[in-house]
């Protein structure tokens, strides 16, 4: 299944892109997204406190299974305001 990953701020800077599509095995969770991103982008730093959003909602658990077409965003600590 294919999921659409969004990266922001320091993580987009490290990866050199803000968007990447990943092909994962069915039922994979966000933990698999992390592994695949770190494999593809060895320079990618993972700031402490980084969160996940699936389809624009904060995800409760890294085990949450993803579905075909999901938008998975990696949310490093926010600094708006």
């Amino acid at each position: 299944m294919r999921v659409h990953v969004r990266l922001f701020a320091v993580m987009a800077q490290d990866a050199g892109t803000g968007r990447v599509d990943l092909d994962l095995s069915r039922g994979a969770g966000v933990a698999s997204v992390r592994e695949e991103l770190q494999r593809r982008f060895p320079k990618l730093r993972w700031p402490r406190g980084t969160m996940w959003a699936v389809n624009q909602e904060y995800a409760a658990s890294e085990q949450e299974p993803l579905k075909e077409g999901d938008e998975v965003a990696i949310i490093p600590p926010v600094s708006g305001g």
Binding site: R6, F8, A9, V10, A12, Q13, R45, P47, A53, Q56, Y58, A73, I75, P76, P77, V78, S79, G80, G81
Partner: protein, 150 residues
């Protein structure tokens, strides 16, 4: 009762007008209007030699999620206070020192509700809305939280 059409929730790529925010929340039900304007502070950390004075902040948002979460934040505030109208505006892109990066305005029947709900909105916005700032100094630029030289 949530009445989203009475609110204005935006990401804005140009200077924010605090007067327009006050006008947007003004209404007959309001006995008090609270306005918060967050601005870019001129800052130079003497312990971090070499990077010079702060020139500006560059804000990046995850726009679809930021707007959806800002709407939810106003809904949460409405569950606690009788907000008549609310404005939540956040800048994106380059914000020069002294300019506003965020403007929040709320109108309520009474002042205590206006003060409390306005403070709640800015405090929660800073905690959970997916917006990030990059600090651009004379000598370097870095995302907030990014370790120096990292």
């Amino acid at each position: 009762m949530a009445e989203p059409e009475k609110d204005s929730i935006r990401l804005v790529n140009e200077p924010l007008d605090a007067g327009a925010a006050v006008a947007a929340v003004s209404c007959a039900e309001a006995g008090g209007i609270d306005l918060f304007v967050g601005t870019t502070r001129a800052e130079s950390d003497p312990q971090d030699g070499g990077r010079g004075a702060l020139l500006r902040l560059d804000y990046e948002a995850y726009p679809e999620m930021a707007l959806a979460q800002m709407e939810k934040l106003v809904q949460r505030a409405r569950e606690r206070w009788p907000i008549a109208r609310a404005v939540v505006w956040h800048r994106t892109g380059a914000v020069a020192v002294g300019e506003a990066s965020v403007v929040i305005a709320v109108s309520c029947p009474h002042r205590a509700e206006a003060f409390e709900s306005c403070r709640f909105l800015i405090d929660e916005l800073k905690k959970a809305i997916p917006i990030w700032k990059k600090e651009v100094y004379e000598g370097e630029a870095r995302w907030q939280g990014e370790s120096a030289g990292g």
